[in-house]
Amino acid sequence: MSTTAFSQFSMPLLMGNSLNVWSEALVGFNIMGLPLGLIIIAVIPLLFIALYSLTYGVYGERKISAFMQDRLGPMEVGKWGILQTIADILKLIQKEDIVPTSADKFLFVIGPGILFVGSFLAYAVLPFSPAFIGASLNVGLYYAIGIVAIEVVGILAAGWGSNNKWSLYGAVRSVAQIVSYEIPAAIALLCGAMMAGTLDMQQINVLQSGDYGFAHFYLFQSPIAWLPFLIYFIASLAEVNRAPFDIPEAESELVAGYFTEYSGMKFAVIFLAEYGSMFMVSAIISVVFLGGWNSPLPNLGSFALNTWTNGPIWGAFWMISKGFFFIFVQMWLRWTLPRLRVDQLMYLCWKVLTPFAFISFVLTALWEIYVP
């Protein structure tokens, strides 16, 4: 482990010259020839997903939905019901792991796994902080868009393997939905990539940093950037099956959709995957349009707010809080809106989002070429 990593641990990190110091230090961390550091790099996002879905994902969503509905939410387990999620996890662990007799056992078992891996793999390129990224790929954004499609396989495996008509409906709906929504989502992200001129997630962040804080974010850098931003946000809702696009798991139509037959830990893994991808899309949108780990505060004369609030630890804070903000908006939408129908979903995708995505693509390109 390099000594520079430790020296930079606590002090504000200068931009550009020492990106990814933590992760690079971890890569070099070998004990007895075992690449322990690499494992730690992989474990950090995993731990993050588990912790965040336990706290903000499940408990937070319950409380937020409760407050929006004039309810109290969980109150019994622990003070204000804080330990409710722990109790739920304990319950899920104890539950019998049922595999229906007529299910395709292999697909049924592997489905939640693929689903989780699909959402987890994208974390490899999420820059959690200027000093930490799982894999600093130069095609990071491209990889993130592509790898999400693996989830479709998991959903289809789960839905088909359950041998349940409702699950099958859910799986088929889900495939149609996710595959369709990849197109506007990808084009919208390309607008951001075009503004950056790179697909490297860290570089996209670096390019959005500056003294004026939020003014450097791509959302505010061009007059049309709000359009791809909005399109990607809507499309990302559909990609992670959140309301109002939750038709694959529409509980009032398809009971529970593709995971109707799941119980116990497999059910928990499916939920973990859902919360994982929720943060993943929120992180991508904040990286591409809202500066990722950059502080939104501007430097105001002698109050160098931006400089003070930047650095590896501050970066992680900004990244996570931006992600959490978008998750809050997702929850907020979920508890407000009814669900769309399948054909309306496709209408929205192909006739509204895709054309507008193309328009914004062209406009962004023109802006980038003619406006310096």
Binding site: M68, S252, Q344
Partner: protein
């Protein structure tokens, strides 16, 4: 281009017509699937089973299978005295017990030719209109849930809770009241009751507006219900529909107006029919709108009743109740406007017994549900859910 023709199930027939490739999609036959929706399904509103024959997500046929909640109401009635039937009528349509009791009391009073004190009549109208609002709140809230909006449901239940509290205060029970008795009431309403009802009306009006903004105003909700499950007026009449369902099809039919009972002729209220501006007449949205606007009409009725009600001085709610109810031999059919439509009671008396020889309930939900087969043809599964929700069935009344 090679001519390709395979005949049989699941085949694609590609024929060549004047150098143009025509794919005949009709021949893309897929296997039909029987989908049992219910009796345990989140949106069949109880233990209803719909046997759907589906082609993909399109429903070719949906047949309701009933009887999971059959409790032998009519047989029970033949074995208990006339007054003891009242609690059983509560359990028909358990969301609007007051209205069911009212309908039953009207039937027996018609058989007995009873004169009812005016205050009793007014209180009956007030409590049954309150119950109508509560029932419509459940209908609207659960309809929101069927379409995926969870929050309006809880707002509806928050306000329904207050109505249930009011009715509990008046009658002593929250849902199964046994309050409207043959010839009178179990007791007079508490002293402050009418004042509190007035306060409730003032409280509820803005809440109803908020509910409309949140649910009915929402474009997704409108898109989900607009033009879905259209029932033309003539077919609706042929099916024997009644209540908000029939009014949703554009027929101005309200028993409170067309076959008036109690003090309804003295009251000023509108029979709500959709005007076709916001919705296609006869679709799910029309039916929903009728319910939403009817709540406001009920509020108006209650206000007028509170203004007109005679004072409680020297009032005995049981003064007209006969000591022993033994009607003359004969039969009677009487009906009343329930939140879900016409609830009629056919009662036959042999003149000797204190128990009816026959007591048949004509329940609106059962009749409304019978059109399911027509309504569901060619709809998608999400639309089927929307249609069931708009029929607003209570299985307690369907199966009796």
């Amino acid at each position: 281009m090679q001519e390709l023709e395979r005949v049989g199930q699941g085949s694609v027939r590609v024929t060549r017509k004047s150098d143009k490739l025509v794919i005949v999609e009709k021949d893309l036959a897929t296997e039909q699937m029987v989908l049992a929706m219910g009796p345990q399904h989140p949106s069949t509103h109880g233990v209803l089973k719909l046997e759907c024959l589906t082609d993909g997500e399109v429903i070719t046929e949906a047949i309701p299978c009933l009887g999971y909640l059959h409790r032998c109401f009519e047989k029970c009635c033949e074995n208990v005295d006339y007054p003891a039937i009242v609690p059983y009528t509560d359990r028909l349509d358990y969301l609007s017990g007051m209205n069911s009791e009212f309908a039953y009391a009207l039937a027996v009073e018609k058989l007995l030719d009873l004169e009812i004190p005016r205050r009793v009549e007014f209180i009956r109208v007030i409590v049954s209109e309150l119950n109508r609002i509560a029932s419509h709140l459940v209908a609207i809230g659960t309809y929101g849930i069927d379409l995926g909006a969870f929050t309006p449901f809880l707002f509806c239940f928050r306000d329904r809770e207050i109505i249930l509290g009011l009715l509990e205060w008046a009658s002593g029970a929250r849902m199964l009241y046994n309050y409207i008795w043959i010839g009178g009431l179990a007791c007079d309403v508490p002293a402050d009751f009418l004042k509190r009802v007035r306060e409730f009306i003032a409280y509820f009006r803005p809440k109803a507006v908020e509910l409309q903004e949140l649910l009915t105003g929402n474009e997704i909700f409108v898109k989900r219900t607009y033009g879905i499950g259209i029932m033309p007026a003539d077919v609706a009449i042929n099916y024997g529909w009644s209540g908000p369902m029939l009014r949703g099809s554009g027929v101005k039919w309200d028993l409170r107006r067309n076959d008036p009972y109690s003090v309804y002729p003295e009251l000023d209220f509108k029979v709500v029919v959709p005007d076709g501006k916001l919705s296609v007449i006869g679709d799910c949205l029309s039916r929903h709108l009728v319910r939403a606007v009817e709540m406001e009409e009920s509020l108006k009725i209650i206000e007028q009743c509170i203004d007109k009600i005679p004072s409680s001085e020297g009032f005995n709610s049981r003064v007209a109740i006969p000591k022993r109810i033994r009607p003359k031999a004969g039969e009677v059919y009487s009906r009343a406007e329930n939140p879900r439509g016409e609830l009629g009671f056919y009662i036959e008396s042999d003149g000797k017994s204190t128990k009816p020889v026959r007591c048949k309930a004509r329940s609106s939900c059962f009749v409304n549900l019978s059109a399911m087969k027509d309504l569901s043809k060619g709809q998608l599964i999400p639309d089927l859910v929307a249609i069931i929700g708009s029929i607003d069935i209570v299985l307690g009344e369907v199966d009796r």
